[in-house]
């Protein structure tokens, strides 16, 4: 099904609206984290980096996982919209990946005493981000849309397979990285005010992901609609 410029424009507008709400939500997270969340005694103010680092990591993993899911579905259904969404999700995932990879070391320096260590979680996360940088480069290098979608889908699926290893790496290997406080079999290991800020931030980063990905997907739809119109 070929997208129409009207559908693409409506998707872009919806995405921009959600992104705006997400940005307002981010301001709320900043306020919650700084004014209404207690300071952790052992880590000090640096602990508050967690309220943006972990949600950014969540959004990045969600984005990268959805690239793989859409890739798999594309190989099955051959619907170009799935490829367009995968393209959008990969770009947005890299934005959140950049936040994850910069805020992590900024927390690590005062807490671990080092900006970076080559332990399993950090190394696997870096590899995952590199894989999606490669994904973007691959897309840019292939001009045939069907070939580009097919090869990209395979790389996206490889990325999806890496996501659970990144999450489980803190259990599978000896690592400096803290264990999950939320995505684990037992109850969340955080005081209620901190948990409230974390959950709010996760909701806001998810909303930002949806808004950004929808806008970017709409831009892809518009490009395809214009391409189809020019070809006619």
């Amino acid at each position: 099904m070929t997208p129409t410029p009207e559908n693409a424009a409506a998707t872009i507008r919806r995405g921009l609206l959600l992104s705006t709400v997400g940005l307002l939500g981010l301001a709320l997270v900043y306020l919650l984290a700084h004014r209404f969340t207690p300071i952790e005694v052992r880590q000090g103010l640096a602990q508050k980096i967690f309220y943006v680092h972990a949600p950014a990591a969540w959004a990045a993993m969600l984005a990268f996982a959805l690239v793989g899911v859409c890739g798999g579905l594309y190989l099955w259904l051959r619907d170009p919209r799935l490829d367009l969404f995968a393209e959008a999700s990969a770009e947005v995932g890299l934005v959140f990946g950049l936040i994850m990879l910069t805020t992590g070391p900024i927390w690590g320096k005062p807490i671990w005493g080092t900006w970076w260590t080559w332990d399993a979680r950090l190394t696997l996360t870096l590899l995952l981000v590199f894989l999606f940088v490669g994904y973007r480069a691959l897309r840019g290098a292939l001009s045939d849309p069907a070939e580009r979608a097919r090869y990209s889908a395979v790389v996206g699926i490889l990325g999806l397979m890496l996501v659970p290893f990144v999450h489980l790496s803190v259990y599978l290997f000896r690592t400096l990285h803290p264990q999950p406080v939320l995505l684990k079999p037992s109850a969340p290991s955080m005081p209620a005010p901190m948990l409230r800020t974390l959950l709010t931030s996760i909701a806001v980063f998810t909303l930002l992901y949806v808004g950004f990905a929808m806008t970017r997907y709409g831009l892809g739809l518009m490009r395809e609609a214009r391409g189809a119109a020019d070809a006619d």
Binding site: Q43, I49, H53, V95, I106, L219, R226
Partner: protein, 41 residues
């Protein structure tokens, strides 16, 4: 025994600044691309 939190607020400010700059920067980039696309609609 440590009784007060360590003084490391600068790291927190740096992290939150980076998050704001990256998110706002990307949002503005999307907005610019969207305006160009919608103008040509």
């Amino acid at each position: 025994m440590q009784t007060s939190p360590p003084d490391n607020g600068g790291y927190m400010i740096a992290a939150y600044l980076i998050v704001g700059v990256v998110i706002l920067g990307y949002a503005l980039s999307l907005l610019r691309r969207a305006r160009t696309a919608l103008r040509r609609e």
